[in-house]
Amino acid sequence: MARDRMIGAAIFATLLALPLLLPLVGADYLMGLLIKAMLLAIAAISLDLIIGQGGMVSLGHAAFIGVGAYTAAIALESGIEEILILLALTLAVTALVALITGALALRTSGVYFLMITLAFGQMIYFTFTSLAAYGGDDGLTLWSLATLFGSDVVQNGEGLYFFVLATLLATWAGVHRIGLSRFGRVLRAARDNPQRAEVMGYPITRYRLVAYVIAACIAGVSGLLMMQYAEFVSPAIATWQRSGDLIVAVVLGGLGTRNGALLGAFFIVLMEEILSSLLHEWRLIYGPLLVILVLYAKGGLADLMAPRAKGAG
């Protein structure tokens, strides 16, 4: 427990210090890579709230990244530039979409839940491809970016880096706290034994839906930031393969653990980057590597770094 927190603190201290330590040469490239990893980590941590804590395996989570990114992009196009207003809009729209799709998806569970979230994800994806006014399949390059209180600090490398880092920190700490709260306890109870949770007096679908909406909202925020970082938005942000990547990050990192989704996301982004720079056919290595990790590190990367005492929970 304490060790998890120390590892987390060490990761964040490193992320905080890196921009100050990086030499000027190549700093842009590394900073971009870290921003990408942090953005994926935000979405992965939010997914862990529903998979790890809630036991609901969603294969449509990237769609909410897309909803966030497109909401922000469309608002930007129509002249709203203040990032706090964009955030509020993103949260509202993602929450609404998640509320509707979640209420329907949560009539099912297990593999049916997986299929229906996939279906909703695809519907949302194809909606983006059909937005002809916003680039359709090709996506949309943004000519203006969001500002913070009228200033462009969140547009350039370092300012955006710290803004993303702050969002990641808030997500990491917030999701952990939710997990330990009264609400989170009910969510975990419904995962452990849904019937028992109901016979304790809990309307478990309601709790699951709230978790689903919270997770979607966080993913939406990561989408907004991805748009801001890339200065571009396209339907590719919301493919089901990206939802799959998020699941891999969460499982690889360690389901429902404090640092699992964070480590998993960083691992994926760095591995992709390193392997693809070494080898054109890098996926031939990446695939087996994932298999080996899942087989031999059952508790995930989080467990490799801080093995739990036997028998302790």
Partner: protein, 245 residues
């Protein structure tokens, strides 16, 4: 306190409960016995709402709860235990009970304060656990408990919600002699506080605890009354008690 009128349930062509009516007064213990497959668990499921009834009515404290869901019935004061132990395996023993107390206390849509440090809930849970005799196992993971301890935890979870009526589905199932005896003592004590519907195979328990006894065979109540009378009822003896005595 609890009244059941004409409850019926079929699984396909199999009629598992057939026009069952019974009433449970304040501080009464009503035992239900019957051979395997008689429909006892099904009846408990119907009363608690886990299974929908095909026909009939369930009333709790004068209120019709037939249309309510499982969780609404629990909130209305209907507590139950399971024949096959049903707990939260990855939770600690204390947390299993604290979360049941939390359902009663309300405020479960709170997202920030750590629930494990909620003194009011923990104290309530600890009190119940002490009562059932699990005080020294509170920090253990529920999955690590012995069978006998699990049966006690099952009961503690139900008690933590302070139910108005308790439905117990074979609480002694799988317990050894000493464990059963201790549990019978505990139930005898609880009987004064909460009315209970007790499904049980253990005849010692039934005759020690029950004010009324009903015999359920093939989904029908074939005899009902004070235990001593039912014991001498020829129909009941033939159907069930004969096999035991």
């Amino acid at each position: 306190m609890l009244e059941i009128r004409h409850l019926s349930k079929s699984f396909g062509a199999l009629r598992v409960s057939d026009d069952i009516s019974l009433a449970l007064g304040p501080n009464e213990c009503h035992a239900i016995i019957g051979p395997n497959g008689a429909g006892k668990t099904t009846l408990i499921h119907q009363i608690s709402g886990v299974l929908r009834s095909d026909a009939g009515e369930v009333r709790l404290g004068g209120r019709d709860v037939t249309g309510l869901t499982v969780w609404q019935r629990v909130q209305a004061g209907l507590g139950r235990t399971f024949q096959i132990t049903s707990i939260l395996p990855s939770f600690s023993v204390l947390e299993n009970v604290a979360i049941a107390a939390q359902a009663k206390a309300g405020g479960s849509m709170r997202f920030f304060a750590p629930a494990a440090r909620d003194a009011a809930l923990n104290d309530a849970a600890a009190a119940v656990l002490t009562r059932v005799g699990l005080a020294d196992r509170m920090e253990a993971r529920a999955a690590d408990l012995s069978h006998g301890e699990l049966r006690l935890l099952e009961l503690a979870i139900a008690l933590a919600a302070r139910p108005k009526v308790l439905l117990l589905d074979e609480p002694m199932a799988g317990l050894g002699r000493t464990e059963s005896a201790a549990l019978i003592d505990l139930l005898a004590e609880l009987r004064a506080e909460v009315p209970m519907l007790l499904v049980e195979h253990d005849m010692d328990a039934v005759f020690r605890l029950a004010d009324r006894l009903s015999v359920l065979v093939d989904g029908r109540i074939i005899a009902s009354g004070p235990p001593a009378e039912v014991r001498d009822d020829p129909g009941a003896r033939a159907a069930y008690l004969g096999a035991e005595a």
